[in-house]
Amino acid sequence: MSGLRVEELSVAYGGKVAVNGVSFTVAPGQTYGLVGESGCGKTTIGRAFGRQVARSGLITGGRIVVDDVDVLGLSPAALRRWRAEALAVVQQEASAALDPTMRIGTQLAQALRARGRDRAAARQEVPELLERVRLPDPAAIARRYPHQLSGGQQQRVVIAAALAARPRLLVLDEPTTGLDAAVEREILDLIGELRTELGAAVVLISHDLGLVGRLCDRVGVLYAGRLVEEGPAGKVLSDPAHPYPAALLASTPGLGRNRRTHPLTAIPGHPPAPGEQQDGCSFAPRCPLADDLCRSTVPTLSTAPDGSTAGLHLVRCHHPGQTAQAVSQPEPLPEPQSAASRSAESDRRPESAVSQPSPLPPDGGPLLEVRGLTRRYGKTVAVDGVDLVIRRGEVVGLVGESGSGKTTLARTVAGLGGRGPGTITLRGRPLHPSATRRAPEQRRAIQMVFQNPYSSLNPSHTIRTILTKAARSLGGPLDPAGLAHEAGLDAHVLDARPERLSGGQRQRAAIARAFAGVPDLVVCDEPVSALDVSVQAGVLRLLDDRQRASGTSYLFISHDLAVVGYLADRIAVMYRGQVVEQGPAEQVLHGPHHPYTAVLVGSHPPAPPGQGDGAGTGCRFAADCPSRVDGLCDTSVPPVRDLGQEHVVHCHLDPARLPHRAQGSTAP
């Protein structure tokens, strides 16, 4: 049989089972998605394809067969030959997958030579490879070093290196994680095209259910190293038979999901670590359907009871198909006490603040006003004449690609940016650009939650000390236990240092710290982008709960539109230092909206990359705009179009011609 066949694959780390008897097949030209939270074995399986498990790891059983080649049985030399001829792997984090000290051309030539080309042929083929991944000016790209390329360009180069082979098996491990929405879409389009071109079996590993749903024919859901559900992607990701994928879907924000209408449900707890397996179904401790049978007997993988005609649909559950109950249950179950030391990870929120769907916030007066703000770093203008108003009790989302000035704007509001023209006022009183020169009352009023919870908490203090210090300097009540409780942290976490906390717990601690002085505005810079989706849901709900309970305003930044759309009442879209659109969240996301916003939400294909630098006198987006009017957009500054309800778009297009999202395309 051609294609990929995985039979009863098992992998262990130091004797602890990480992948447990996984089987699936992928026909040539088909795409198979592997999904699950981190720690469920996705990446371990990805590495097993090339027989490259970590050093403490060992493939303990099973077979991987690609076009009748038994990969696990190959001798070292034959394995190398097979890797060179038949395998292509695109790893996550393209920037790390390229040698920083070698030119792109040299690296690609080496990849080609590894696949058997001679020196001259390799050199000749490099520009062709770069063209195949749609990179403009291949000769120039080939001369560059990795750090001189953008993230999207780096990922294209990594894909190009993978294409140097004529792979029979293409493994994509989180190929778009960390990329901006528009760039992600370009990469996905590219992968889609190449997939048909190659006719290889493709395995896509991702935590992003929407992405898997768009690209894959079939999906396998991994939990604690086992497949818990397997079937056609459309079926599994819309109507799963197992409670785990159902819970994952319920914890994933999608475009069109707002906290006021569709609150997320976090999955309580976390997947068991390898070797931590107890009796029965491994999902039972987190499952609202679990009964004594689930806790005592491991369910088998058997045909799902839905009579699906689209292909084999398997599920490992004693109560398959009862997922509706699992998801509709609004309050996650408490943690089992057995895992006392780790129960602190619980991403359940405090009982006191139950979020119910509620109408839009009351129309508060302006809290913070930014006028004509400009910030330069050397020759680059990071923020260019930005006006922004944040009202009391309102969540303003800020979106845009990396380098658009979002973070600079946020840091400037928080008093951590540099100096420059423009004013910021809080309740009508001007704010000094530097937080240290602001009045104590103004410092209390504006707090910040950072992207990386690993570096934003002082590692030498306990959580109690961190919260006490914050409360003391911000003049809040000295009640670290109360702050921790409000942030959904267990009391015993208080005396731990940050290094002992999980990512979700650290971010909760950072949020508790921000709320220590009862702030008026909390600036959140990508607060959930480093977190797993189920943990992310818990933190988003915490932010929602705290906002409702305190009436605090947020300036919320994320590159993930679904996340912003979930939390925000209003959205501002930044492009190259300017706000090109702002308005009510739903209208901005749905349209009619700015052509750039259309590219971000994916209703419009992006223009071919890199045609201009936006340095012209007209619209910054002109060079990359799919609806560009030549002779107008590139030469004159676009007018401000008022679409009503304070929804403004900076664009030359007539409001009637502005793009909008097609009906029914709500992800995932």
Binding site: Q52, R83, Q91, E93, A96, L98, D99, H147
Partner: protein, 316 residues
């Protein structure tokens, strides 16, 4: 290029600061120079006369100006104790030191890089432990111990190399290098562990990096991955360690020079300090200061050549 120019301009300015420090500290050391030169029995008059001859009665700034002007124009004075021109003395010793340092360095780099790579590629395995522990142990052993062992084994027993570092006058370069072999070996033994440790750290990072595993997944052998990707990336991190070692090899040797009777600049620095031979001490310190700065500069240049991220700046 602009980087190099900027750094080259900084060298004389820094050296000016060094000159103040060198002059003031050497002039302020306790004890009377004239008394030291003439000895305990000398009469007060002769000591006073010598002080006058040496210009020691004049104010410090004036003496500093004279000394600095003399140093810049190449008039480095005469050694108080050896009665020879300081410049010839220092440059002579310096060239001897440079020859030994060059030989030791040329042996050190390949040995330390190879051992560091071997340890890094096999990290946390017995091979790594062996290399790391041996390197550490040898680095902690005083030079006179390893030096004496090398002398006994290779010079006395096996008679492969001469015991003295001093080659007869008029020897060929090869013969002179042969005389320097044993001191160079003892220096390699001393320094290898330190440099190898830096190379090892870089090699571990590189071999565990996604680009190395990606290369392996393209069908390259371990050895090919090491040669193409790990070697360069691990030497980057060892560059500054190599610079520090080169500084030490050039000016920091005393024991090895004394043990093998090698007339180097380290021993000169020590003897001139002990003898209060101020002109020699000052000139030696200045020359070494200049060399140290040039080595740091060379290490930075090498660093930039090896790492394009620094050379070409961040992404536009």
């Amino acid at each position: 290029m602009r980087f190099l120019l900027r750094r080259l301009v900084a060298v004389p300015l820094t050296l000016l600061g060094v000159s103040v420090l060198v002059f003031v500290t050497t002039e302020l050391v306790p004890g009377d120079v004239a008394r030291t030169i003439l000895g305990r029995e000398a009469s007060a008059e002769s000591v006073a006369r010598l002080r006058g001859q040496l210009g020691l009665e004049r104010p410090l700034p004036a003496r500093y100006a004279d000394w600095l002007g003399g140093f810049v124009t190449g008039r480095w004075g005469e050694s108080y104790t050896l009665r020879v021109p300081v410049r010839d003395l220092v440059l002579d010793r310096l060239s001897a030191s440079m020859l030994l340092a060059a030989l030791a360095f040329a042996l050190l780099v390949p040995v330390a890089v190879t051992l560091g790579l071997v340890a890094g590629v096999n990290h946390d395995r017995p091979m790594d432990r062996l290399v790391s522990v041996t390197g550490l142990a040898l680095g902690a052993t005083p030079e006179f111990v390893t030096g004496v062992i090398l002398l006994v084994v290779f010079a006395v027993r096996l008679r492969w190399f001469p015991a003295s570092a001093k080659a007869p006058d008029g020897s060929s370069l090869l013969a002179r290098l042969g005389h320097l072999a044993l001191p160079a070996f003892s220096l390699v033994v001393l320094c290898t562990g330190y440099v190898a440790r830096h190379v090892r750290a870089g090699a571990v990072t590189a071999i565990e990096s996604p680009y190395a595993s990606a290369a392996e997944l393209r069908g390259l052998t371990r050895w090919q991955v090491v040669r193409r990707h790990v070697l360069r990336n691990s030497t980057i991190s060892a560059t500054s360690a190599l610079g520090v070692q080169l500084q030490f090899l050039l000016g920091g040797l005393v024991t090895v020079e004394l043990l093998f009777n090698h007339p180097g600049i380290g021993a000169l620095l020590l003897s001139s300090a002990v003898d209060k031979d101020l002109p020699t001490l000052q000139a030696t310190a200045m020359v070494l200061g200049l060399l140290y700065m040039l080595i740091v500069l060379a290490a930075d240049v090498a660093f930039r050549l090896l790492d394009p991220r620094i050379r070409l700046g961040a992404a536009s």
